[in-house]
């Protein structure tokens, strides 16, 4: 039995909007999990159902072996940082943070020490005695985060906890907060639409789209072995290049025919027999390849450069290729102009093959999914 278990949970708003569809998630104690998805994918609804601000339309949620989905929020033992900060305006930041401990009947000195500790963690020590209306959005957000982290709750829910912070501070706080949560053995669920944040903080990431869980896995597995085309294209920056392809197996060679007569031609030995059989069944497939794996090398297929952007630490080259656009990333400056012809090479180990009809992954780098 997992620590937090979400079992076939549905959320339907007003009998019409199906925001969360048959969600199953099992999270272990001490784990940090990110719910990742675009706006309206159901991640915040999920978080609010765990907190108790939204009722589950059907399904169960249990925390630490106890069913909690019928309990009022105050009795679930959950702490939460809200996306809109939600600080209480008549109180100073210090009082707001200490307010979260009201229910625990601690000595004043203990409360003061813990407020100092979390305030130091999120860098708001200097402004503790100011009121929410007199500090910036980023500072309010950090106070809201501190108010959640100060509690020793069974579960910490963080809704876009760093959305308003400047990049340097965000990077600093990610490290500190992860350490803070680890050190105390806390369990946390983080809602974000920022993959970097999810990758940096979470042990596992649940990718959601349209209210459905797409994949729940470690950051590395999401990148290397996406379960379907959605996860494949959603995770990774810049996004994965995808092309519809027709496989052609002619004994010793395996070719993927792309649009406009382009064809990726490989030695069939690079692909296991089971995969070749699967491809021979003739269903349409979609090929995916990460921009980092698209190399510009002699003897490759021809592409025509459409844009060449140097981002300060890497170059994004987008080029017209096989009727679509392919993006290649390299870490040096490239002396290429619009209209130049470049040879594109893709190694068989970098190919992700998806079923075109269902979007499900068939193979990653020659290994069946």
């Amino acid at each position: 039995m997992s620590y937090l278990e979400i079992a076939s949970v549905n959320k339907i708003y007003g009998g019409k909007v199906h925001a969360v569809k048959a969600l199953d998630l099992a999270i272990g104690q001490g784990e940090i999990v990110a719910l990742l998805g675009s706006s309206g994918c159901g991640k915040t609804s999920t978080l609010r159902m765990i907190a108790g601000f939204e009722e589950v339309s059907s399904g169960r949620i249990s925390l630490g072996g106890q069913e909690v989905h019928r309990l009022p929020p105050g009795r679930r033992g959950v702490a939460m940082a809200f996306e809109g900060y939600s600080l209480y305006p008549p109180l100073t930041l210090r009082e707001n943070i200490a307010f979260a401990l009201k229910g625990e009947k601690l000595a004043a000195s203990e409360v003061a020490a813990r407020v100092e500790e979390v305030a130091h963690l999120v860098e708001i020590t200097a402004i503790l005695d100011r009121y929410p209306s007199s500090v910036s959005g980023g500072q309010q957000q950090r106070a809201s985060l501190a108010r959640a982290l100060i509690r020793r709750a069974a579960l910490h829910l963080l809704d876009e906890p760093m959305g308003q912070l400047e990049p340097q501070l965000r990077a600093l706080l990610r490290g500190r907060i992860k350490h803070f949560i680890r050190e105390r053995g806390l369990t946390a669920i983080l809602v974000t639409h920022d993959q970097t944040e999810a990758n940096a903080l979470a042990d596992r990431i649940a990718v959601m789209e349209n209210g459905e869980l797409q994949q729940f896995d470690t950051p590395a597995a999401l990148k290397e072995r996406p379960a379907n085309l959605f996860t494949g294209t959603f995770i990774g920056e810049p996004p994965m290049n995808v092309f519809d392809a027709e496989p052609q197996d002619s004994g010793g060679r395996l070719a993927f025919r792309l649009g406009e007569g382009a064809s990726l031609d490989y030695d069939a030995g690079a692909f296991p027999g089971a995969l070749r059989e699967r491809l021979a069944a003739g269903r349409g497939i979609t090929l995916g390849v990460r921009p980092h794996a698209v190399r510009i090398a002699e003897g490759g297929l021809t592409a025509q450069v459409a844009a060449n952007q140097w981002l300060g630490d890497q170059t994004h080259i987008s080029a017209g290729f096989a009727g679509g656009t392919i993006v290649s990333v390299r870490h040096d400056r490239a002396d290429l102009r619009q209209g130049d012809r470049i040879p594109i090479a893709i190694a068989p180990a970098d190919l992700h093959i998806f079923d075109r009809a269902t979007g499900r992954a068939i193979s990653h780098g020659g290994q069946l999914a």
Binding site: A51, G52, G74, S86, L87, Y88, G103
Partner: protein
């Protein structure tokens, strides 16, 4: 603030003075009248030069109305007391009923909630006299006619919709997550309502209560029909000054001044709440 030339400032000041004079004039005239005898009030042409007298106030407070023909007793101070009881009582009842209702309408969307809220507002649309006739008959049957309780009940038609709609707008302005943040720290719904929502909506509630008080205070027709002499508020009580021997303008003026004083004091005290409450609550509600 943009820069203004001295001329602009002068014109602006002049315009303000004109507006203030226009609105304050009736009140000023009444105050002047209250210090005059009937003879000086009625002389033609009228003049602002007169020998002030406090006899009007003395007559009203002592309850003896002396005209040049006869002497009669009036109970204006009792009317004033009735006004206080009726207005304060009905506002208090409206707050007890209206504030939790406003919270429910603001926070919980349930089937028919908008319809119920609108129905409550529609009390304000009905012409009072149309409601009063059947109400009088009912009140006489169930023994509520001519009681403070019955009057306070009817005054809910004035106070409740006002408080409900202004306070509702105020509750809607408070982010629900502020309440959630308190609830998740282990507090019940009710303590969240008392500790978080009520204090945050405080200015709006104060403004709504003040407005309701003023409307209740100024009500005439409900009390005229439903209350007998000993329950009448000042608005109805002022009719006693229209006597067989003429209209006692000086005493009416003094009575008017006395009856606006409590509301004026209250309004001045709560002025900033009033403006803030109206602009924040009612507009969005």
């Amino acid at each position: 603030m943009t820069h203004q030339s001295p001329l602009e400032r002068l014109l602006r000041g002049l315009a303000l003075v004109l507006v203030v004079c226009f609105f304050i004039f009736p009140i000023l005239w009444i105050v002047l009248m209250s210090f005059q005898t009937n003879e000086t009030i009625l002389r033609s042409p009228p003049s602002v030069v007169f020998r002030p007298t406090v006899s009007n106030y003395a007559a009203i407070i002592s309850g003896h109305l002396d005209s040049n023909v006869a002497s009669m007793g009036i109970e204006f101070m009792r009317n004033l007391m009735n006004s206080v009881i009726l207005s304060a009582g009905s506002v208090a009842l409206s707050l007890v009923l209206g504030v939790p209702a406003a919270y429910a309408f603001a926070r919980h969307k349930f089937r028919g909630s908008e319809d119920i809220a609108f129905t409550l507002l529609s009390f304000r649309f009905a012409p009072p006299l149309l409601v009063l006739l059947p109400l009088t008959l009912y009140f006489q049957q169930i023994g509520l006619a001519d009681t403070y309780l019955g009057l306070i009940w009817v005054y809910q038609l004035i106070c409740l919709p006002l408080i409900l709609w202004i306070v509702r707008g105020y509750f809607e302005d408070i982010s629900p997550d502020i309440e959630h943040a308190y609830r998740i720290a282990g507090h019940s719904w009710f303590s969240t309502f008392c500790r978080i929502s009520l204090p945050l909506a405080g200015p709006g509630i104060a403004a709504a209560a003040l407005l309701a008080f003023i409307f209740a205070w100024n009500n005439f027709v409900f009390a005229l029909v439903l209350a007998s002499a000993d329950k009448q508020p000042v608005t109805v009580g002022a009719l006693a000054f229209v006597t067989a021997s003429g209209i006692q303008y000086g005493q009416i003026a003094a009575a008017v001044v006395l009856s606006i004083l409590p509301v004026l004091a209250l309004a001045l005290y709560a002025q900033r709440y009033l403006v803030e409450g109206l602009s924040l609550g009612a507009v969005k509600g």
